[in-house]
Symmetry: C2
Subunit: 405 residues, 2 copies
């Protein structure tokens, strides 16, 4: 199968590329390398030393004999080149991971909000319009997030994408299936909610075949393929914008900093290991909807945890202590989260749990690369509103330094 991975240079993308290449597919990476530019903008870098995409592809070829093609292309700003590329290469399947994916980055400033909306909405819509125009019947697998639903809702289990509602009509109550209503909590999450409407329209109007994977927080670094050579290593983000809560706990533990929990730590989130994420994408690719069918939506996660329980788990493995800080995000202090993921379990997913896999991260990643940690980059500093921003301490250039109470 010929597969294009849009955003194939990123954290989820690179291991997906290697996994599918290893399985014998023909792989094409499309990426504008914007994420590397954002590293430069923020003055941060991956904990793991990350080679250029060209070098990574060269090493993979040297190790395995398999070719990965790289194409520098901006999905959001180069519609005509995208269309020409699709028309020429005609991939069988497309995995779309090419979006700005950090909620705190999307809330940093007006410029970052505007960039995130432009980049994500135009990338997704350009892709859809180009698929229609080239008449390509490729299966499109997109990575969305369970965060579109917001975490403050009524405690209902998050279903796999749809909800049956009753509507009053002159002829009595009628049942109708709708997209599960969203309540995104950041500009980033909002763009995923917008994506859903784009997908619904193009599946319905043009018969595009689309699967939308609502993913939890991805953790873990190594997959079977990235572990084959030091220079194939995946990226590991730990800064306040791109580092997920778990990565930041790991890094704090490695440098002897207390694990900082924002708010009560009662926020519950869903998690999945990168090895399972990659495997889920492969499973989804093997199970496309038919043309004319509604968008297939899967919840891509394997377990849920409260943030304070995560902190305690890391503390237990490392001996770190836990510190509570005020919350720069506008979100519910505590929430339940019950997620249905029956579809992937039915397709045969056998998850790596945090309980089992976290020690590997502590030892093989956080401690191993601890000398590369930049301590000033660990706190999370984007404030969700002007009110919350005014509660952050600032350095002389106006950059937020850390939360104060």
């Amino acid at each position: 199968m010929k597969v294009a991975i849009l955003g194939g240079d990123g954290f989820c993308g690179w291991p997906t590329v290697l996994h599918l290449s290893d399985a014998g597919h023909e792989l094409h990476v499309i990426d504008n390398l914007s994420r590397r530019w954002i590293d430069t903008e923020l003055g941060v870098q991956s904990l793991t030393p990350m080679d250029s995409i060209q070098e990574r592809c060269r090493i993979w070829r040297a190790e395995t004999g398999r070719v990965i093609h790289f194409h520098l292309l901006d999905l959001a700003e180069e519609f005509e080149r995208l269309k020409a590329w699709l028309g020429e290469h005609r991939p069988d399947a497309i995995v779309h991971l090419a979006e700005q994916r950090a909620a705190p980055y999307s809330m940093r400033s007006d410029r970052h909000k505007v960039y995130t909306v432009r980049n994500n909405v135009n990338a997704t819509h350009n892709l859809l319009a180009a698929l229609v125009e080239t008449g390509l019947d490729a299966h499109l697998v997109h990575l969305g997030t369970m965060g579109v639903y917001g975490y403050s809702s009524v405690g209902a289990p998050i279903p796999e994408g749809y909800l049956d509602v009753e509507i009053d009509t002159p002829a009595g109550k009628r049942s109708q299936e709708i997209l599960y209503p969203t309540r995104p909590g950041s500009v980033y999450h909002m763009t995923k909610s917008l994506d859903q409407i784009l997908f619904q329209f193009y599946a319905q109007n043009d018969g595009l075949r689309i699967t939308d994977l609502h993913q939890g927080i991805v953790w873990g670094t190594h997959t079977e393929q990235t572990a084959r050579h030091e220079q194939l290593v995946n990226r590991f983000d730990y800064d306040g914008d791109y580092g997920t809560v778990l990565n930041r706990f790991l890094i704090q533990a490695a440098i002897g900093h207390p694990l900082t929990v924002h708010g009560t730590g009662g926020q519950t989130r869903a998690f999945i290991h990168i090895r399972d994420s990659v495997r889920c994408i492969e499973l989804a690719l093997g199970d496309p909807p038919a043309s004319g069918e509604r968008v297939k939506i899967f919840n891509q996660m394997t377990e849920t945890h409260r943030v304070r329980d995560l902190a305690e788990l890391v503390a237990r493995l490392t001996g770190a202590r836990v510190a509570m800080l005020p919350n720069p995000r506008k979100e519910a202090a505590e929430n339940d989260l019950v997620v249905k993921n029956d579809q992937f379990l039915a397709l045969g997913l056998a998850p790596t749990t945090l309980e089992d896999g976290l020690l590997e991260e502590v030892v093989e990643v956080a401690r191993r690369y601890a000398h590369r940690i930049d301590r000033t980059r660990v706190p999370a500093l984007s404030a969700w509103t002007r009110d919350l921003a005014s509660k952050l301490e600032r350095d002389p250039e106006g950059r937020a330094l850390r939360s104060v109470s």
Copy 2:
């Protein structure tokens, strides 16, 4: 009150500007004049001879002594200038009409799809981000469309924006209010569905005060103010992209062409006269939500009609005959449409009905300017899908000429 009308050079915008100026408010028009450029692109023009915006403002001033300020600015592409303008002028209220608003134009080609999404989503989002950044507490009134709901649904009355649904939770059934689910039927309508999510987020996260008017098809040309001088006349679109179904019937009747009904004519649509549209905007401006309140959503329409009944009404007034053609749109052949508009009726709206006002359009507009009609521009030609496009006859340059069966 200082009011900014974004898109104030357009069909709904211009009479709104004059109406509010006449009522004594300070009026600012912001427009990039893209709609005039689209006239040029399509090689069409308003039936009524339309002066430049600068000349229109000059004449209004000569007639009434009142100043209207015009600012050439692209909302979607000039975020920094927009922010600077808002920060400097600090309007009390903003009416946002600045979007590409024709469904057929949005479906013409991939380029038109991409343009419509970029223009509309970025215009709305830039505005919201700039309001937050400048800390402006202006009331934002946006023009949306009832078309976001699609017209093929279960025949439920269209409520004013929200729906109560029951959700299963571990603690039993819980009721939750959600945005009424959308099913947009064109890329244009889809952008209005995206707008709703942007509004919901910014009202919730930043306390912006927003009213979204879900408007029906606007008909009629003259308002009390545009009628004061020949050169204040409003635009009248009758081409296949921008001309609404009613305008096209009027023009067909004026040139002795049969009234072309696409499909069965069983499509039911909602209508409102431009005089009532302008008055509704004024009523909405006077009734803002509080900060922190959910987005106020009104249905802005006064009556519903089946397309074939409209054709018969025009035929009765003019003696024209009715012809049935195949439908280039992907839509339900027949639909019921019951719309709630209790909120505007409660605020004191007294509508002009089609039955009462249509003769004025026939005599004062269609017949009066009949010599300016370009007959080649009357058919509606954008096809919704590749299948439907292949059923359109084409000229040697590949432009669709007219629907064939």
